[in-house]
Symmetry: C2
Subunit: 303 residues, 2 copies
């Protein structure tokens, strides 16, 4: 074993909290409180939920809400950058990004200690259903950016982060493309919840499916997965919390409950990936000669 | 609702049993016993485990074992065809196929009542590790066959079967390509087990990962999944049974234990797929403009 392969334990935290109203500074102060708790507990990597600076405004289509958007060098990113530098941590935040007039994104940002913002990821898969009008607000992320294909991981001092956002979590393609580009872990800042009119059984099927699909990305790619989710009721959606961190075989390392704000911590073993890929060599056996049609919307059956 | 959308319940069964030794007729009689039980319980679709006519010979590399292979119109398929016709069921079996001298496959076959063999699927992803020398025996299935891309589902009177085999279960790509071609359910005849020298914790992580990855294919594609697995000890592998059937949101409908031979039954609601795809429209939002690199072995990072 070389020195490079030793000492690859990483203490990570994900945070779930309520983000009521539209006072960004107030919500950022809530985030800061939990970030400080996590850093004091030794977390080197800390991940916040999707759109944590405001209430989840996509419950409706309202043109004024575009005023909430801000550029990548805006106030929220500056605030998070300062925290990351002060606490000497790697921090993943989430903003409603104004890229230019008429182009707005749902963007995760990475603040890496005193190195500042070392990368960002614009949500690629955009949902749209009652209570989640995201196609109205968010332009989908670019399929290629600066000549690199999408789902490019972000290099930080704690490893290469495969950053994805919420609805991306239902797409094995996204996780795979991050893994093929060298991601060392997958990260899904999330805002997902139940419709209170659904039965408890329906709700449980939904949150169980959500947990399983993300654990499956760990399993298929042998990568740890970190998922912070929003919590609390907003405008008819009960955000279901249950933030979790799992290891590279999908095993749950820690999980939050569905109601309470707080942090969860886990020690992630980054050596596990190579060991598992030797024991279960899925990547060796991918039938890349047979996958071309994955770029089809549907393969219509004409006979 | 049109008549076409009504009455889409399907009673299905998966069978797990031991398959000791190399007397194919004897093992086929074991299969037949359980097939009859399942048919009497009302099963319209019955699925057998991988390579059920013999012991799992891939534990070692032995040239004589190629003598076990037989053509698609060989004795084993004829036997299964007769059962399917007699019991008026749709039956999925598994054979070691001799396609020609020097080309052998691990092939699932579909016998559809009195219609005979309506299709087959040659395992695409071939594992190879200690105790599972499959690359020695099995030529991988063709990337295209008769001008159609691989993972083409098989039309039967109970629906379009997305047939895959064992190691294929670790590849979201395979499930997706079956779904994009109109599969109405996914089926994985399997022979997977524990190494008894591993710890109980390692073993449980493995079988839990196996269950989750297959439930994730249900979730990502909104299709029911049927998985029969071999059971019993053979040549240093403890096949772990735990055959299961889950619904189109990954919810477990029925599951066998890890030790005993037997059948498990479930009523599958084939209407659930369209309903779930309307509520959770993943297929609408796939970023097919960004998936081209899924045909890469690895996307090397040159800077």
């Amino acid at each position: 074993m070389t020195a490079q392969h030793q000492n690859h334990a990483l203490k990570a935290a994900v945070i779930q909290h309520q983000s009521p109203g539209y006072d960004k500074h107030k919500n950022l102060q809530t985030s800061a409180k939990y970030i400080e708790q996590a850093a004091q507990a030794g977390a080197q990597l800390i991940v916040l939920q999707e759109l944590h600076t405001t209430a989840y405004f996509c419950y409706t289509q309202k043109q004024d809400y575009f005023d909430l958007a801000e550029p990548l060098n805006g106030t929220s990113v500056k605030y998070l950058k300062q925290i990351a530098a002060d606490l000497n941590i790697t921090l993943v935040g989430s903003i409603f990004e104004r890229r230019t007039a008429g182009i707005y994104h749902n963007t995760a940002v990475v603040l890496d200690g005193d190195a500042g913002m070392v990368g960002f990821y614009r949500k690629m898969h955009i949902p749209d259903d009652p209570g989640f009008n995201e196609k109205y607000y968010f332009t989908p992320g670019d399929a290629t950016l600066n000549g690199r294909c999408a789902f490019q991981p972000i290099q930080t001092r704690v490893g290469r982060l495969g950053l994805l956002v919420c609805w991306d979590q239902w797409y094995p393609e996204a996780a795979r493309l991050a893994a093929l580009q060298g991601a060392e872990m997958l990260i899904y800042p999330t805002a997902i919840g139940w419709d209170p009119v659904d039965t408890v059984e329906t709700q449980q099927h939904q949150s169980e499916a959500w947990r399983i699909i993300q654990r499956s990305h760990a399993i298929a790619n042998h990568l740890p997965v970190l998922v912070p989710n929003r919590v609390g009721e907003e405008n008819g959606t009960q955000f279901w919390g249950q933030s979790f961190i799992c290891g590279a075989q999908g095993e749950i390392l820690n999980q939050a409950n569905q109601d309470d704000e707080g942090i969860i911590l886990a020690d992630i073993d980054l050596q596990q990936t190579e060991q598992l890929r030797r024991t279960w060599p899925y990547f060796r056996d991918r039938r890349i000669d047979a996958y071309r049609n994955l770029t089809s919307r549907h393969i219509d059956q004409l006979n």
